[in-house]
């Protein structure tokens, strides 16, 4: 054994301290920091010093044992007997061993745990046990364990949160799908339903509680609903990569409904593959009906506009070309043009008023109105028309009529329309009566004539826009079919009702009932 051993050992320990003290800890991947070693490296430094002390003791013992082997040990105070030297050496070895054991024990425990981690296939399954010592290594290890445990807890919480969010999103997605009024289904490549909302069950007349669509072919389900032969394709299979729309008629009890079916391909993860389809099934029966009514309205309005225009153009052009020489006939032509222009203007006004009322864009100019006076003035306006046809026109008003809060101009239009119709469709020499009464909390205006009357099957239609009786006697009179609709709308805006009773060839009675509000 070399006498320089302790010096070498001490030198190694010093070098270790020097090396550890110069360690630079990387802050992140690919970069290094120039800051001093962090606290846990300082702990390791202290461990190294303790280890150095224990090693020094062992080195001293080895030195003594070397001298013992030579027979004696000479010190400054004299010779130490070999027995004493041996005892000191033993004591030094024991002390060194104890110091080493004491120093290395916590490191060993930590090493064992780390070894377990290395061998374990599932690191997360291994328990991390904190140490009960207070040495810097143990304190550092315990802090590491604590950090690890809090990280695990945070990770677990994060996972639970993620699962909860996923479930919430699924529930939210289901709620959104079920809130839609369109039937929605997702199908796989073979068009088997993998997801369907409640509206689809409803459209297909199925009960979601007792009947299951999942796994069914959507083509078959739709074919069943439409009464189409099973196996007949609802949508063609040639355009699978494009959005395809088709309307199918489905029979109902006494009518039929129209379903608009739209199939949209879903994008797959790989562009080459098909990712199934989203099917949207909408009941467009009401929309179709509205479209039809709109077309009828436009058709009727167009017809009513073109008819007077045709007269104006024909008469004006004939006059302009000088095909009429007679002055009286020229005057007659001018009168026709004038009448048609008036008719056209009135038709446009009626149409605009009616449209504005129907969409709620008309505001009533309500004011306290003397109803007796209003009805007298209205009657005066139609009296010339009655006289022209030699009609007997009678008005019956109660002694005192209440004042009502109404839009007097509009209400006058409604009454004039009724009286004007009565005059128009009552043959010469007939009679027209306007009777006003005050039944319970209401004011009732009856306009009754002895005119051509209305066929029973036409009575429900006479208040419809543009409706004109097919009776040739009605067609012989000018009219747009808007007057009664307008009157009804005006009365409705006042909270009242307009009703009709009639018998063909005997006469008609139109009745306005307005509410009388107590002041």
């Amino acid at each position: 054994m070399s006498p320089q051993a302790p010096t070498q050992t001490e030198g190694s320990a010093s070098q270790a301290v020097e090396v550890l003290g110069n360690i630079r800890v990387p802050q992140s991947a690919g970069t290094t920091s120039g800051s001093p070693a962090p606290p846990h490296f300082q702990s390791l430094l202290h461990r190294a010093v303790a280890y150095q002390s224990a090693t020094a003791l062992v080195g001293l013992a080895v030195l003594l044992l070397g001298f013992l082997a030579n027979g004696s040990l000479h010190t400054a105070s004299g010779w130490i007997p070999p027995a004493t030297a041996a005892m000191i050496a033993s004591l030094c070895v024991a002390l060194g061993a104890w110091a080493a054991w004491r120093t290395l024990k916590p490191a060993r425990a930590v090493e064992q745990q780390l070894h377990r981690f290395v061998l374990s296939p599932v690191v997360a399954a291994e328990a991390v046990i904190p140490s009960d010592g207070v040495t810097p290594l143990e304190t550092g290890w315990n802090r590491l364990v604590q950090h690890l445990r809090s990280s695990e807890e945070a990770h677990g919480l994060s996972q639970r949160l993620e699962v909860a969010m996923l479930k919430y999103r699924q529930r939210q997605g289901e709620q959104i799908l079920n809130a839609l009024t369109d039937g929605i289904a997702v199908t796989d490549d073979a068009q088997r339903i993998t997801c369907a909302n409640n509206a689809l069950y409803s459209i297909l007349h199925l009960n979601p509680e007792s009947e299951v669509l999942l796994g069914d072919s959507i083509e078959l389900a739709l074919a069943r609903e439409a009464g189409i032969e099973p196996g007949t394709r609802i949508l063609d299979s040639d355009h699978l990569r494009h959005r395809v729309v088709r309307e199918i008629a489905c029979p109902r009890d006494n009518s039929s409904c129209t379903l608009r079916v739209c199939r949209t391909p879903l994008a797959a993860e790989h562009h080459s593959a098909q990712g199934g389809f989203v099917w949207c099934v909408r009941d467009v029966t009401q929309q179709k009906l509205a479209d039809k009514m709109r077309d009828q309205f436009v058709n009727a309005a167009t017809h009513e506009l073109r008819t007077p225009m045709a007269n104006i153009k024909a008469y004006a052009e004939t006059l302009a070309l000088g095909e009429v020489d007679d002055v009286e006939q020229q005057k007659m032509f001018c009168n026709v043009i004038n009448d048609e222009v008036t008719r056209l203007a009135r038709f446009i006004d009626d149409l605009l008023h009616l449209s504005r009322m129907e969409v709620g864009a008309t505001t009533l100019q309500l004011q306290v109105t003397d109803m007796g006076r209003l009805l007298e003035e209205t009657a005066a306006k139609v009296r010339p028309q009655m006289l022209q046809k030699n009609l007997q026109f009678e008005i019956e008003l109660p002694g005192k009529l209440p004042e009502l809060i109404v839009d007097k101009d509009k209400l006058a239009v409604a009454v004039i329309n009724l009286l004007g119709n009565a005059a128009k469709y009552t043959p010469d020499g007939g009679s027209v009566q306007m009777r006003v009464s005050l039944p319970k909390d209401t004011l009732q205006i009856d306009v009754e004539d002895t005119g051509i009357g209305i066929a029973a099957e036409e009575i429900p239609k006479v208040l419809e826009k543009f409706y004109r009786s097919s009776d040739p006697r009605v067609y012989g009179e000018t009219g747009s079919g808007l007057g009664l609709s307008l009157a009804q709308e005006i009365v409705r805006l006042h909270g009242g009702t307009l009703s009709v009773a009639s018998e063909l060839n005997k006469g008609s009675r139109f009745t306005i009932v307005l509410p009388v509000t107590a002041e």
């Binding site: 073109r306 024909a314 040739p472």
Partner: protein, 147 residues
């Protein structure tokens, strides 16, 4: 000398009927004016004409029904028909009239000269005089109160 071509006009709008009849007469046609489809058909059951000019939208027997009735009658199967209509081309396409075998469709408002031009164009190739003598210019009585 050929007799003037005989045109039957069926139009429920009296003002328009008057001006069409006047223009046709001024041009030299023999005109029978009727105020409805049923009046026109009543006339056609007993008389022959060279051309029928009928409004499409008439109460009772419409212009369409009149055309259909004529095509079922051997005497009027080939009689040219011109339909007058106030419906726009977008809502009532011309091909809808094909089933009635009409020769032309004239949409309101129209120029009376356009009517004359159409009548002349249709009658020129196979101008046929009226097969059954009729009153020189007759207006068939209309339904009551139709004026």
């Amino acid at each position: 000398m050929n007799a003037p071509a005989h045109v039957l006009v069926a139009e429920d709008n009296p003002a328009l009927l008057g001006v069409i009849a006047l223009t046709l007469r001024n041009t030299g046609f023999e005109v029978t004016a009727t105020h409805s489809g049923s009046d026109a058909w009543e006339y056609l059951r007993k008389n022959g004409v060279d051309l029928v000019l009928a409004d499409y939208n008439m109460p009772g027997m419409t212009g369409g029904s009149l055309c259909e009735a004529m095509r079922h009658d051997p005497r009027h199967q080939d009689t040219p028909i011109i339909v007058l209509t106030a419906f726009s081309a977008e809502l009532q396409h011309d091909h809808e009239f094909e089933s009635f075998g009409v020769s032309a469709v004239i949409r309101k408002p129209f120029s009376p000269r356009d009517v004359i031009a159409q009548v002349r164009q249709i009658l020129r190739p196979n101008r046929q005089p009226a097969t059954i003598p009729a009153a020189a210019t007759s207006d068939v009585p209309s339904s009551p109160n139709s004026d």
